[in-house]
Symmetry: C2
Subunit: 219 residues, 2 copies
Amino acid sequence: MSAVAPADRRHRRRLETIEQVLDVAVEVMAEQGVAGLTLGEVARRMGIRPPSLYVYFDGKHALYDALFERGWRLLLETVHRAQSRMARDDPLAEFRDGMDQFVRWAVDNPAYSALMFWRPVPGFTPSERAYAPATALAAEGRAEVVRLRDAGILRPDVDVDRAFTAQVTLVSGVISQQLSNAPHEPFDGGTWTAVLPELLDMWLAHHCSSAPSRPGESS
Amino acid sequence: MSAVAPADRRHRRRLETIEQVLDVAVEVMAEQGVAGLTLGEVARRMGIRPPSLYVYFDGKHALYDALFERGWRLLLETVHRAQSRMARDDPLAEFRDGMDQFVRWAVDNPAYSALMFWRPVPGFTPSERAYAPATALAAEGRAEVVRLRDAGILRPDVDVDRAFTAQVTLVSGVISQQLSNAPHEPFDGGTWTAVLPELLDMWLAHHCSSAPSRPGESS
DNA sequence: GTCTATACTACGATAGAC
DNA sequence: GTCTATCGTAGTATAGAC
């Protein structure tokens, strides 16, 4: 019995250890900053010695790379989970909710965000593999703009790429300001997250096919 | 003759050396990243030894602090210089130009920007003195919003603080995206800087007292 | 004000025993 | 897979001669 597929068990154990390394690394980044991550501190918190980490990661850059990929993957899953909870018949509400979830996750995970959105590590460039979930999320965001256009919410002749660039900029601005100026404020009630709905309204009104109609305004 | 005010000459020489240290430090940050700044590298490029730097700066954090202050002061001067070149009778053009200059400087000086807008150095918090020019610039930006309101361009009942927060977020978003995603693109023709005018139009239209009138649209 | 010398700590990474 | 031992490097900072 105990000899059934021992390689699988080793493999699973290995994956669990890798996950644990990543968890601890995120903790360290959250406390010491992204650039303050050291293999020694990760090893110390795990109760092992630094050389043992080399069994799981081929050096510090590989660890950063795995963290970068994991962050985008977690964010991707967060957005997907929110979408699957939504009714499928309201593209506008879905759009707003997606942006909301995106910013919420970023603000709730400042260590990941700093690594993902800024580039604070001198020699590190993410691999193509690590970029993949980021690219996927960008593609889905752009598709969301197309959906809004096809649903008649945005003008039919809207420049999708330009509109998407503007939208990403808004969201990125909120995240950047919130994290760098008031990192300890939660998403709800944050100084900068509070203006997100207004900014999305601005964006929608600007690309709107009909006259701008914002919530709270008389029609 | 040569004995006239020798203390002044020493003092000036000292200030010049301090400026040189800051210049070199910015160079190093631009090449190695903000967190990649080391006293040894600065000293090497200046042709001196690391201990000599302690005559001018009380350690690495003091150097970061001086760089932080200098960056905001340079940005403040850049905006002022642009304003003094402008005609004083067009608040709207002045507003647009100010934002333009702000983003242009930030994109042209990525090393300063990373230190000023993000917080990539683990243990470093800017001193009050270093913050002063940043605070001054924020106050002037808010005053600009008040001017736009008083000139009748924005609604009389506009929430100035909220509008200013939104405006800062837009500008911050452009800078963040441009610097982290395409740092080598110049301001002119940058993927993200290109949407700045459109974002400012959005912001203006959203707070406008009359119906939104954007350039290129029929009135 | 600059230097040499040095203390002290820390880092990433590798070799090789177990 | 984990360890000890160690290499090689780099960093901040201080003491004290010149």
